[in-house]
Amino acid sequence: MSFTSFSFFVLIAVCCAGYYLIPARHRHIFLLALSVVYYIAGGPVFLLYLLFAALTTYFGARVAAKGKKAAVAVPLLLDFGVLAVLKYTPLAVSLLNHLPGADFPIVRFALPLGISFYTFQSAGYLLDVYWGRCEAELSFPRYLLFVAFFPQLMQGPIGRYGSLAPQLREAHAFDIANIRRGLWRIGWGLFKKMVIADNAALYVNRIFDDYASLKSLGIEGVLMYSVQLYMDFSGGIDVALGIAEMIGIHLDENFRQPYFAQTLTDFWHRWHITLGNGMKDYLFYPISLSGWMSRLRKWSRRKLGKEIGRAFPIGVANLIIFFVVGIWHGAEWHFIVYGLYNGLIIAVSGLLTGTFRRWKKSLGITDRTRWFQAFRMLRTFVIVNISWFLDRSGSVRQAFQMFRNSFRGPIFSIHVIDPSSPSYCMSHFLPILAGCAVVLAVSIMKERGTDVLKKVSSLPSWVLAAALIGILIISAVFGNKDVGGFIYANF
């Protein structure tokens, strides 16, 4: 059930009306029922996988709360085992087939909706309980709701038990301000998705699918992909946050103007924030505090000196984290290289921090120098866009070929999606341009500290109603209706 489908809008309406009409003590059951309906719409069988993950971590946490390590290890092995089999079998088989004489057929399983998200979220809960950050949930229906809460199930944001579960438990009174904020957010998300991302997808699909003949348009393709991916993913998150907002639940933000980032590390603090935070808490810190890392830290300080010796183990941990981020995105080599590319740049920049600091000092530049900030922003944008080649391409080879060919001819063509119909191309290109201008203006305001949502939410309700009607009509006229699903729903 896509966020842009009619059925989903009916679900939102039922959710909102039902939530406030049903007695407070039954609301979690109501939300759970809606989440199950939502999940079943994507394939009834897949519900079993979700239940399995929820049951293993629910019972695991009950025991793990008593400090039993095995109660953490077993559910994690089971859940990530299921994820690995479903998602990574083709990669494993293709690796095995490199062995002499091996020729196993590549089996592809249908992936349950949002499996990466709910596996990660439920694993996070289990670890939080084990580490004493939160109490184990006693009620299974309440816990299942935390795992399966429908607005965030498909593509996040990845919720933390400590912040989400109490909100799901609490009975929120009807507040028109929440409805307004939620509706604005949903409208904004749909605008980004239907008007900008789906039109950009036309260019992206055309250029990436036919990269061999459209040799030099790689830069256009990747720029359009950076637009598509951000608008698609953040648009979907806006819708999820908006729905939750309407019933008084505040989900974690997942984006904070990522293309304004000054460094790649900064970018990852602004992009898919909940995944980054999860990786930091559940992987980076445990790795950093592990015994072997401690030994590596001592060794590197002794052999590489104080400055590099301190950055080296962090770089190794970052490489591991981004390897996992890459493989989390998909069981293909280009995703793994995408992750390693990010990890390597962050690791190397960590190693060179001291050198950069000395250069800046000698040139009289500080991090507050305006032109230097602009330079860093542009540099980071370029670095990120190079990574998008790897993310979007079907293979590492394709990514390298596209990148290499990018400078061998004209780099931009509005008419690439249909050279025989300039008006058709303009009808898709102009909405991207205009939409990006609107998003850029809003992003600048947010970056300067303006609470845009608060401002627009305080406008009279009729303005909101008119804006929503406008967004629907604009998306009907200018949106590309053939794209459909969200990119991150595939993860």
Binding site: S461, A465, K481
Partner: protein, 325 residues
């Protein structure tokens, strides 16, 4: 009461949206031949009802078929009409008048298309009279669809001023109210009261030969279309209505280029039709003993490479079909 007051602007907004949307639908959704066909099947009864795609609508002239069978016949096949749409069209027709026999045109090239926004289906839904069938059709095919497709079908059409003026003129005239076929007759093709679309002998469409194949990428579409085709056959079998499945001829060059595709399509339908006791006439891959086996279908008999027949070919073919059923 206070809550209601707070929600009032949203309710007014919803009503405003519905009004604006209805106006846009009126302005931009054109009058189409499907309106005539649905009106016919909902208000009249026929001994033989033809269902299918554009191949069926342009190949089977009900008057010629009636001349051979002595039974009344209506052609409800249409371009962009998938097995699912045909299924609900059949149920819609059955509400008032059950046909004695259904001639089901089978175009396997429709089976391999992944169908997204199908404005023909959306228009069919729009034109169907309010009924349980319409509600089922909506829930089955439109409820999970994109909100713009479901709520704002006007966005699927030309939004130019000339199109709007044309639509207003037609929809406010007697032509629209009386379900006239007059707007659907021009030098290239003529849509008749009997549902037949006569493509002029002089008309010439895309001559290139299509490339058709079953593959992993279209397996879901095949499964979906096959499911509804089977539902039609099962429904007819359970209702005691005779079913005849017909694969209309395609140009020889198209058949030769896609031999494997048509063979597989033939196997699939032979099995399906056999299971429900339907008669199956395949003019592309005839069976041993079929009287029409060995017939040649020259490219010039068709208006295009896909296999839409020219009117004179269609009339001879309809005569042949009428004599066989």
């Amino acid at each position: 009461m206070r809550t209601f007051k707070k929600l009032l602007p949203f309710l007014v907004g919803l009503i405003a949206f519905l009004c604006i949307n209805s106006l846009l639908n009126f302005l931009f959704v054109p009058y189409q031949f499907t309106r005539v066909k649905i009106h016919k099947i909902e208000t009249e009864s026929f001994d033989d009802l033809i269902l299918g795609s554009s191949h069926g609508s342009s190949a089977m002239d009900p008057d010629v078929i009636s001349g051979h069978t002595g039974r009344s016949c209506f052609n409800a096949a249409a371009g962009g009409q998938f097995p699912c749409d045909n299924y609900y069209l059949l149920l819609d027709a059955m509400r008032e008048h059950a046909p004695g026999r259904v001639i089901l045109e089978y175009d396997p090239s429709y089976f391999v298309i992944r169908d997204g926004f199908n404005r023909n289906a959306r228009y069919q839904l729009h034109e169907m009279a309010m009924s349980g069938v319409k509600a089922r059709y909506f829930l089955d095919q439109f409820f999970p669809g994109d909100i713009r497709y479901v709520l704002m079908p006007w966005s699927l059409y030309s939004l130019e001023k000339s199109a709007m003026e044309n639509n207003i003129r037609r929809k406010t005239s007697d032509i629209y109210r009386s379900y006239s076929v007059e707007p659907f007759i021009d030098s290239a093709q003529a849509c008749g009261e009997n549902g037949f679309v006569a493509i002029a002998d002089e008309s010439s469409g895309e001559r290139s030969t299509p490339e058709l194949f079953f593959s992993e990428s279209n397996s879901r579409a095949v499964e979906e279309n096959r499911k509804y085709f089977e539902k039609i056959l099962q429904f007819l079998s359970e209702s005691g209505i005779e079913a005849v499945v017909v694969m209309t001829p395609v140009p020889d060059s198209t058949r030769d280029k896609n031999e494997a595709f048509y063979l597989k399509a033939h196997e699939m339908m032979t099995e399906l039709a056999g299971r429900y006791g339907a008669k199956y006439l395949d003019f592309v891959v005839p069976d041993e003993g079929d009287s029409f086996r060995g017939m040649s279908w020259d490219d010039e008999l068709f208006s295009d490479g896909e296999g839409h027949m020219r009117v004179s070919t269609a009339r001879s073919f309809s005569g042949l079909l009428g004599s066989l059923i």
